[in-house]
Symmetry: C2
Subunit: 158 residues, 2 copies
Amino acid sequence: MTMHASRELIEAKQMLAVARQEALRGKAAGGIPIGAALYGPDGELLGSGHNRRVQDDDPSMHAETAAFRNAGRRPHYRDTIMVTTLSPCWYCSGLVRQFNISRVVIGEATTFSGGHDWLAEHGVQVTIVDDPDCVELMTEFIKEHPDLWFEDIGEERS
Amino acid sequence: MTMHASRELIEAKQMLAVARQEALRGKAAGGIPIGAALYGPDGELLGSGHNRRVQDDDPSMHAETAAFRNAGRRPHYRDTIMVTTLSPCWYCSGLVRQFNISRVVIGEATTFSGGHDWLAEHGVQVTIVDDPDCVELMTEFIKEHPDLWFEDIGEERS
């Protein structure tokens, strides 16, 4: 690993810690434990949030859309970084592509794999941290609340 | 045109009228005039909404996401129809794909073309009504408020 890549990974882990705190807040409130944070080009936190399906009865508030909402209105999102504990689903991947968010940092893509390869094909810089704490959080949640999980990704259980 | 296709187009126009009413409500409130409605398999209206960027200072509320939110939580969206006055951007196209919404009815794709071809490639039934009232509504809006329009699709003006 080059020194540059190493520094990027350290920064990615620091940003991921904020997204993971959001996920834990969501879990503590009985919600789906996925968190996200949107960062600006100079490393400033623009907004963070977590999945609010259960808390607000709102199916549109995935972690990434909540972070995006909480960041407020901006003229553009070039040079921003979306950090999320879990691989972004197609809905949230579409958000990243439409708004030209330039980089996505993902806690893990083991328990669920969304559109991150598609984003990379379209020029988005994708970093998968493969964080064991993020994997454990989702693995436990899916085991304990499969109905909520499948509802959140719009899949019918077989 | 077959009788079946003709009936489908009449139904599409009836559903589109509801989405267009939402767009006009948004316009009347000083917002971005894009509306949407989510219909169930038996033609029942599940929820409708319009872009709320201006009204709520919320960049995450496009017309389609507002309709989806207002439809509330559902175990799945198979057999639902998303109706929108304007071709869905990547964010809203991602919503349709992730939640397996089976059909999209689009007022017009002239003033803006989002991800509807991509959705069709992935098995979504796409109907473009090519409604002149929808075209006029967006043409006027983009001419009068270009900054709001480009902000809403995350594009920097040249």
